[in-house]
Every structure is written in structure tokens, then in C-alpha cells.
């Protein structure tokens, strides 16, 4: 078609006309993704902003000072969140590394069924479960304690920990382990010096997954932790429900940064050889 109209052909040869629809679609997608994020950033530095003003009336960091002041609840929530997430990672990895090794290397009966069992907390609506855990924990005196929240987060995070750990071990060539064994290394030494270092990037990825999952978890913390163990998502919720959008947006930004950061680097940790083994 274009060849019959010379000037259009010349224009098309210099500039691909398909870029017009492409730019429109990609631009709309970019607006749909970055528009809300920009709005959040604006709210974190807006001193005053109300209808019908399109942009904030004053900009400033006074809310940041309030959030990060030593007496503010945000620092306590941040500390709680980091402590809970770190403990969740340690507990999950302590459970998942042996389990993952067994699932990938030792011939287990009902292996597929066991793998599937770890998916159960993701495959059932978990709100009714949290409600009943909270009731159970209340009787055991675990409600409103850090231990209680960590236990809930571990249950939820185990699927990532176990599945990715299993995949990470499966992606390692067994010949390397056999070579170590044949020159006289014990099974434990082979695991420590050969298998574990090779699986480290995958295990690190699963640890980060569990950490983020714990940092972001709302429903379980809401029923088991609140109001004694204050965490960042709970602070975000109370601030937002109270109409304090600045505090809510700053808290949201604190949760957003690690999530987006991990999204940008996830492929470096989770190489395709590990990824292709997930769930197998």
C-alpha cells in the first residue's frame, strides 16, 4: 500500500508509522502504572491538598519529621516489622532448607503430595483460618505477641521457602556432589562445602521472598498482632482510615521501596535454571 504513495513511503522509511498506536498503548499503560505511584509520591510531600486543587497547595517534609520522630509510632512499627520479618526468614529457612534438600535429593514417598501440601495456605481463602488461629492463640496466650505473628507469617511464607529451596537444590548437578563424595568427603561436609554454596543464590531469593511476604502481610497481623504488636501495614491502615493520607502514603512508600527493588533484581537471584524447576 505505502509504495503507491511516494511521500508516505518516504515518511514511513524514516519513521515507523506503527509507533503511533504503539506509543498510545504503551503511554496509557505507563500512565496506569506510574500515575498512581506518582500520586502517592505527591501525597508524601503534600502539606495541604484538597478538592478542587489539581496539585498540592504546599510542599514540605513536616510529615516525614512526624513519622520519623523518635516518639512517633512509625519507628516502633518499622522496628517491629523488621524484627518479625527477620525472625520469619530464620524460622522458615531453618524449616525449608532440610525439607527442600530432602524433596530434591532423597527419594521420598508421596513427594508430589508433600510439595502440594505447602501450597495449601495459598490455595484456600486464608481469612477464616486467621480468625480461628487468633482464637486459638488467644487461649494459648500467643495473641498479641511477636511469636504469634511470626508463626502466622512462617505458615504463609513456607510455600515460597520450600518450593524455591527444592528448585535451587534440584538445579545443582548431582555429579559435583558425587565427585566430592568420591574423594572422601562425608555427606555432611559435601552438603556444607558443595551443595549449600551452589544453592545459595536460590536460597537467598527464597529468603527475600519470605522477608517481603512477611513485611507486607496484613490480614494475619491484623487478627493476631493488633493492637499490641504494631506493624507497618497496620499503621498504614489506621492512618488511612483516620484520613491522614500523608502518614499513610509515607508508610506505603516505606513498604513499596523493598518490593519494587526486589522486582527489579529478582531475575539476578532466580535464574531460569532454578525457575524452570519450581513446582517440579
Amino acid at each position: 500500500m505505502t509504495r503507491s504513495i511516494p511521500w508516505l513511503a518516504r515518511l514511513a522509511s524514516r519513521f515507523d508509522l506503527w509507533w503511533i498506536p504503539r506509543a498510545i498503548v504503551l503511554g496509557l499503560l505507563a500512565f496506569a502504572i506510574f500515575g498512581p505511584l506518582t500520586n502517592l509520591l505527591l501525597w508524601t510531600v503534600a502539606e495541604r491538598w484538597y478538592f478542587p486543587h489539581a496539585m498540592p497547595l504546599d510542599y514540605g517534609f513536616s510529615y516525614w519529621e512526624r513519622v520519623f520522630s523518635p516518639r512517633g509510632t512509625a519507628m516502633e512499627s518499622l522496628a517491629n516489622s523488621v524484627v518479625v520479618a527477620s525472625m520469619t526468614v530464620m524460622a522458615s529457612m531453618a524449616l525449608a532448607v532440610p525439607a527442600g534438600y530432602a524433596l530434591s535429593r532423597l527419594e521420598l514417598p508421596f513427594r508430589a503430595l508433600i510439595l502440594l501440601a505447602f501450597l495449601v495456605p495459598q490455595a484456600f481463602p486464608n481469612l477464616p483460618v486467621y480468625v480461628n488461629i487468633a482464637r486459638l492463640f488467644y487461649q494459648l496466650g500467643l495473641n498479641g505477641t511477636v511469636t504469634g505473628v511470626v508463626l502466622v507469617h512462617v505458615t504463609h511464607g513456607l510455600v515460597y521457602a520450600v518450593w524455591i529451596a527444592t528448585a535451587a537444590f534440584s538445579a545443582i548437578d548431582t555429579e559435583l556432589e558425587e565427585a566430592a563424595r568420591s574423594i572422601g568427603a562425608s555427606a555432611l561436609r559435601t552438603f556444607r562445602d558443595v551443595t549449600l554454596p551452589l544453592a545459595a543464590p536460590g536460597l537467598l531469593a527464597s529468603a527475600i521472598f519470605v522477608f517481603l511476604e512477611s513485611l507486607d502481610e496484613f490480614t494475619g497481623s491484623y487478627f493476631v498482632g493488633a493492637p499490641d504488636v504494631n506493624m507497618l501495614p497496620l499503621l498504614l491502615y489506621t492512618a488511612s482510615a483516620g484520613g491522614n493520607y500523608q502518614i499513610a502514603s509515607i508508610t506505603a512508600l516505606l513498604l513499596l521501596i523493598p518490593s519494587v527493588g526486589f522486582m527489579l533484581v529478582v531475575e539476578r537471584f532466580l535464574r531460569s535454571d532454578v525457575l524452570s524447576k519450581v513446582g517440579h
Partner: protein, 273 residues
Amino acid sequence: MPKHLLGLLLVLPALAVILLLFVVPLATSLVGAFKVEDRFGFGNFAKSFELYTSDIVFTVVIVSLSTAIIGILSVAIGGYLVLGENPRAVAILRWLYRWPLFIPFIVVGQILRTFLAKNGLMNNVLIEVGLITPLQAVSFLDWRGIVIAFVWKQTPFVALLVSGAMASVDRSTIEAARNLGASRLRILVEIIVPQVATTLMVGLVLSFVTMMSVLSVPLMINAQSPTMITADIAFRINAYGDYGVANALGLISLVASACVGWFYLRQTLRERS
């Protein structure tokens, strides 16, 4: 020690956590749904349907609609990533679409709560461009807001799974169809999508279940009636300590999820036979 036994010993602690902290409370919830003052009966369900029928319908409709939109968008994204002819546009899309992937639901709720509000950035841009007047600006913080939040958050997850599966589809059938003059849309619908249907369904079923149990999004975006079952469960517990009705509502959402799961299983079994 035999290998089996050692393996089971290594797996056992992790399995015990799942059993004690998920399966047991889940069973408690199922039993509790039928318990009315120490006797068994359907009283909780009668009360649930009496008070919350509109919310139950609302939840199923909203989650189904979101799932459908997520499916269409992820097929479109995955399809362009596989069939797109301009490497630069493909690279931009690949970089762009997965930003919301790990953003937590509660943050999505807060972000969209401000973005979709009456004086949110979306209405402001529409007014600046001249598409609407300031008087026509309406808040999207109702069922539309919930659907937008779900689609915004879950599409990257399903699209990531789907595009991965699409990338491993045999290229030669695609090339053959192209040589015969098939359009890209037809190749996508008739050749690629059937081959990645299982992955697409897994992603959509997992998304459906996830959305059924999200509490933060309905609380943040639309807590007025009609709202989602999850918000009602939280309300029954916090306001009345009414575990019976809360568990009954939980069982209802479980049944809705199970229906989707069963539909998926039946589909895969039929394909394999």
C-alpha cells in the same frame, strides 16, 4: 538410616507447621460454621444469607469480573511479548508491565484510594486534558475501584506466568502459520493460547483465591455496603465476636473458590483423557 526415613524426618517439621497452623484452624473453621450455641445446625448460614446475600453476590461478581479482565490483559501482554515485531516496543513493555508485581495489597489499596478519589490524579489529568469538566469528576472508590485494584496488582503475576509459558511454545508452528498468512491475532488465539491454557488457568485460579481472601483492598477502597465477604467477616468478629457467622461466610467463600478449582481440574482431566 534408610534414605526414606531420613527424608521424612527432614520434611516433617515443615509439614507439621502447615498441619498445626493451617489445616487444623481450617478444620475448626469448617466445623465452627455449623455450630450454633454448642449444637450443630444451619442457623449461621440462614443468618449469613439473610444479612449478606447481596455482599456474597457482589463478591463473586467482582472477583469473577476481575479474573476475566486479568486473563484478557495477561494474554494480550504475553502475546505481544512473544509476537511483537518491534524489539524496542517489546523491551519497553517487558520493563513496564511488572512494576506492581510485588507491591502489597494494602499499599495498592492506599495508592489507588488517592489516585481514584474525586481530587485524585486521574480526574485531574482528565480535567486538564479537557475530557471532563471539574463538575463531572466522580470518585471511583466503589466496586470499580476494587476491580481496578485487583487488576492492577494481579495482572503482572499472571502475565509473568503466561509470557514464560508462551516463550517456550514451539516457534516452528508459529512460523508455519505466519508463512501461510495467518494474522498475529489469529496465531495468538488459535495456536498460542490453547498451548498455554493450563498455565493461564493456574494463574487465574490462584488469583481468584487470592482476591477472595484479600481484606485490605475492600477495607481501604470501599467499606460501605455492598462490600466484599472478607470485610463482613472482619466486621462480625470485631463488632460482635460472632465466630459462627464469620465461619459460615468463610465456608461460603471457600465453596466459591472450590467451584473455580473444580472447574479447572475437570478441564485439565478432560484434556488429558
